[in-house]
Symmetry: C2
Amino acid sequence: MALQPDKRQLGYEQTLMYGRYTRELGQYAKREAQRLRDEQERRRQLEDDLLKYEERTYWHRSKANFRWFRDWVFTKIGEDWIFLSLLGIIMALLSFAMDYTIAKFQTAHVELFRMLSYSAGLQFLAWVGFPVVFMVFSAGFVHLVSANAIGSGIPEMKTILRGVVLKEYLNFRTLVSKIVGLSTSLGSGLPLGKEGPFVHIASIVSTMLSKMIITFKGIFEDKRMYYSKGQNESRNSEMLAAACAIGVACNFAAPIGGVLFSIEVTSTYFAVRNYWRGFFGSVCGAFVFRLLAVWNKEEETITALFKTNFRIDFPFDVQELVAFSFIGVVCGLGGSLFVYLHRRIVDFNRSHKRWSNFLIKNRLIYPLVVSLVISSITFPLGLGQFMAGELTQKQQINELFSNYTLGNEPEDVNQENIYKPWHRPNVFVTLAVFIVMQFWMTAVSVTLPVPAGVFIPVFTIGAAFGRLVGECMAAWFKEGIRNGDTLNKVIPGGYAVVGAAALSGSVTHTISTSVIVFELTGQITHILPVMIAVLIANAISQLLTPSFYDSIIQIKKLPYLPDISHAGSKTFNIYVEDIMVRNVKFISWLSTYADLQILLDDSMLQSFPLVDAPESMVLLGSVQRVELEYMLDSQIGRARRLLVVKERNQIEDGGGSPAKDKEKVTVVEFHAGSKDNVQQPTAVITANGQELQDLSDLAGSSQMGEEPTIDSVFTYDAQTTEIPKRRKSQYVARALEKFDDMTPEEQREWEAEQLAKQLNFTDCHVDPAPFQLVERTSLHKIHSMFSLLGLNHAYVTTLGRLVGVLALKEIRIAIEKGATYRGSRARSGLSSNTMDSEVSSS
Amino acid sequence: MALQPDKRQLGYEQTLMYGRYTRELGQYAKREAQRLRDEQERRRQLEDDLLKYEERTYWHRSKANFRWFRDWVFTKIGEDWIFLSLLGIIMALLSFAMDYTIAKFQTAHVELFRMLSYSAGLQFLAWVGFPVVFMVFSAGFVHLVSANAIGSGIPEMKTILRGVVLKEYLNFRTLVSKIVGLSTSLGSGLPLGKEGPFVHIASIVSTMLSKMIITFKGIFEDKRMYYSKGQNESRNSEMLAAACAIGVACNFAAPIGGVLFSIEVTSTYFAVRNYWRGFFGSVCGAFVFRLLAVWNKEEETITALFKTNFRIDFPFDVQELVAFSFIGVVCGLGGSLFVYLHRRIVDFNRSHKRWSNFLIKNRLIYPLVVSLVISSITFPLGLGQFMAGELTQKQQINELFSNYTLGNEPEDVNQENIYKPWHRPNVFVTLAVFIVMQFWMTAVSVTLPVPAGVFIPVFTIGAAFGRLVGECMAAWFKEGIRNGDTLNKVIPGGYAVVGAAALSGSVTHTISTSVIVFELTGQITHILPVMIAVLIANAISQLLTPSFYDSIIQIKKLPYLPDISHAGSKTFNIYVEDIMVRNVKFISWLSTYADLQILLDDSMLQSFPLVDAPESMVLLGSVQRVELEYMLDSQIGRARRLLVVKERNQIEDGGGSPAKDKEKVTVVEFHAGSKDNVQQPTAVITANGQELQDLSDLAGSSQMGEEPTIDSVFTYDAQTTEIPKRRKSQYVARALEKFDDMTPEEQREWEAEQLAKQLNFTDCHVDPAPFQLVERTSLHKIHSMFSLLGLNHAYVTTLGRLVGVLALKEIRIAIEKGATYRGSRARSGLSSNTMDSEVSSS
């Protein structure tokens, strides 16, 4: 029943038998590579032949024309330009719709409050009840639909762009959860932002869009997909990076600042060739976003979001730069304080066992209490009157940026409107109270289990602080600042812009906030003050605390590589051999299925090194976990067992082969143009019975007790791809359901027998070029390799022998402990031996 | 006379003898690493001991305090912040001084022309003679002082930042040549820019500044320097990248755009953690630059360079975006045409043998003729009157950006002044003539052998084109564009801004020109039109031609890696084994000095792989060329020869040792705290005779015919660094000058004898962890590794055996030929064997 082995297979069997190892086996990787290439070549040939055959008929020719057209369209859609503009437009529409909804919610909140002006009690109820209901709904919805939607999303995207796969973080369920949760949590009016969640939403949309395109393409041409898998992966991550940029850009309608901000918060190393992607998508998005605003009659034309109207000729005096630097210093300290405060709140909620257990059991209590407290405080008839409580976030920013000096008496109705909320008891006290209250309220709000960002609330606080300094300056220099013969009035709005950029830059550790404020305000006049304050704020906050997003990465313990700059020169004196894990989990060519089963049960790694033998440890390549799982399954899985039972029954029945299966089989042989050294491939194409045929071949060959050989290639394997393989085994299982299973004893016996056999790698895809390092590579070099190439792990070899493995985790530990290594270097040989930490799965 | 070998050395000799190779030798790399580490540890120990000893006296204690203070100051100066602000300030001062000089030259040119208004002939002479003299002087000066100063500098900086060392490109001579050459060439008034040269100048200043700091530090603490060499190198390249940003930023007084522009034109992959460096330096520079302008009473305060004053409320109508897109399309085509035209001019000058020979022989003819022709054409009384010939570049840009519509009649004196130059015969014709003439004149000018950039001339042309479109629009919609109930006038100045950004972005393939125009004009109102036009222009020009800088890289054949995106999916199917050079030049452990001599003569490579033996080819590490040259020199060099002669003479004299040398020798032994397994180092510190002592030891040990062993370490080597080593041999040569040399026959015989000996690697630093690849790595992966890690070459190994080498050149060829590989893949084993191109030196 075994398939007739073709010449090539025989050839391999004759030249390389199981047992001739070390040097010869070492060349296996090379030959495996050759084999893969040959196969690919052959497949292509096969396809071409098929195509040629099809082209003979008229029907097929017109089909070919249609295919060409379809390919052309799909290539164009798949082409980055169209993809990006689609993504930009979708995100802009989404952003606009959400902004609209949130604005409606917030207006409804204020309107309800005003309508009930006849009763202060009802007013309080409305003012407090509204946000509480929204917040509780948001928390509940997110908890039920997808908890992945909680929080900002930027830390997770940073991790994903680093090359780590976070499961279910980018699926449709999370998208729905995030959109609904975000709309309601922002609708509640609590100090929360939407830039982080928007980055997340854009990434999900991008992933789904490219999946849609691939699936659509895949209906017609799944084979192509398989070939360009590696390409698709790198393209996907490029698109994700662009999506992050588009997310920020759509949120602020700030194409340039958005791209830069997203680069700063998500990347460590940035490929300049991807630069335009973000810009293009963002511009498309920003364009649509602003066009919608025009059609919606909010703005006359495409202009800035928080438009300012400062004096252009003489925006500030050189002497004012001292005050601007002061804003930078305070915002730097304030940013660090904010990150610290947020961390302490999270730690508090976690570290007190009873409290945290209570929170976990009553998930809705925490959001309920927090929103209740915060909205009570901002109640405009109560404490809220001392901190402009009745204004929405957008109104707050607009008024803080306004060109009118709050310290002066209002001259017209417009100024009167701006003046009113900030003058109880006076502008300085109101601003100070506003800053302090918003500060802790924001820090508490962002710990709520709802989708929420931190940028805009922090931006508002910064603007308020800048405004405070500006108003003080305006009060101090009542006549203006003298410069030569001219007197120039101080513009407090300019200070607010500087403060906003500095504080948001300090919390997020970004410089691009300066660009964002230029785009938001539509004025670039304050470029120098803004840049100076942002740089000073960044310098201070980077010295004191990690960025808000890095802090969340630490809190969530996401698998991210810290920056090496903190570890300093030590990294040049720590080497791979000092930190690698010597106790490597591996499979060898000589392993049995039992070994494999133990290995898979023992460890959760995503891939394993393949060596020739445990004694010599020559690294042949790396095998994915899924491949090994499939291998084990096809050896002792249910499908295989049923097949064996079926065969036994047949033998018992007198060897009568099932005729109805057989008759469907068609064997077609393709003779590819014979090339030097490349044997003619034999392709077996079957109609319906193919799967059964194949699997029974597999069973048969094993049954006959053949020793598995390195290169014994089952010809059919050349025709199948991974996914159909899996589907096939399910199919077989279903098809064989009619046969009786073994008895439990039989089964145990049979399994033991099967497990004792040696692994057969013929069916298994081995990556012949996993990333390798030598022992004497410095930590500094490893760090840049890992971060630049986005590696998760690398094997350490000496003369081709596997001596250790290095994963992200070891590097992270080494960098964090950097200081302690210097002393222990002399005994490093010993110390690293004892450090048998498990390789972290990723 | 040989140095008493210490225990450790003996220990090594006993355990590992020459001849036990393959596996044992393979561990050499490991042991070498251990040795290096031990040495480093020991040296540190030694230093500490010395320090402790010194600390005992009062004098030394106060010295220690002083040293601490000095260290603190130097660390702070060496610290990035101070370094960057210094660099920024220096560059700002330099930029300001040069701008001032150039402006004076240009004013003098116009003044001279006006003064001579009584005679048109004299006017012509003055108008034409002035630029010709300046240009010829510039070309001559640059030719004499340093030809490295010719051209832009951005392509070279791109190559240098890629990790390639371009000799003498960053030295003082080039700096002088560039500054003087640039001032005079720009002073001539030809359409040339200064942003590229300024990047170059900033890079030189940065290099010299860090050298100065290191030298200054090195006077006191040269040992430290040696330890942190690797660190310094990576720091230097970070600083160079920042310097490029500062150069651009100072040039335009555009801190944000400058940083982004420099990233776009010089980097492939950008480390986000270096982001702030550029910004900080640029802000310092821009601040000083603008402060100087204030003090110089040019501006009232710190504002934009080409300040515009467009309407803020309603800068443009949505319908105008069509016209803006049109500008983008034309500028995209125009940018490509410009690069093509420039390329053709260069090719013409090169390809016509007689013409190019003539040019090389008469270097000053070409600049003379070109400047003569161009200045004759722009003569304001002749053709110049039809293209605003009398305006300087700065005036041109200012007038093109002006808010006043040229098509209208002027209303005041200010408008009259702007109106006049552009109205002969009318604004449309003048602008069109201006664009066409400037276009080719710029393309010709930048081929001149003087320091010159391309950005500002192209920027001007773009502005003129934008203005032309804007004026057409203004003439077409005389009443303004209707939007609902309002009529909005067209602002032609806005079109000029868009055109300027689009054309400069298209020529340089950058998007950040959009940010630069916002900073230059001080207005961000036209953000969407500018972004749209720049993106369209970029898309078109990237499709058609390489960027101007990449074109120069191709013309100059600089060792740069092209981008892989053009090669597409093929790169996944090409592997290392297909493109690597199999005919590797190597040295083996068994090579003789004669082999080494042949190797060094044969090849110009900067480093060589070290293998154990030509048969087994186990890669032990990589050795720098300088190390090998020193090795050869110390074996058969003049110093060694004289020493041998001296010794012979001594033997002939009866072995009487030269007493006057001997008596100066002092031997001090330090007993470092004995650690586990680390043997006590024996340090021989001598006063004056040290060098002789050491070298004669070396000679002695070799003379005695000892077999060189892998680990026979001369103890003194642990105390010396590379540079002193070299100085020493010169010193010895001078000191031994008094002895007679050998006769030529003797010499030949002696050399032959010496050359037949086996190499002695004891003295030689071997890098035990050169970058290694396996054969089955795809071109795509290699490309990202090489560009990300900045590699020049990598060794290809199979099981630790060196099978090939891959340099930038092979990858470049592979990418360029990408398309042809697909077909030849089946025979790749053969084809790559025949492709024995030499590894390119770098």
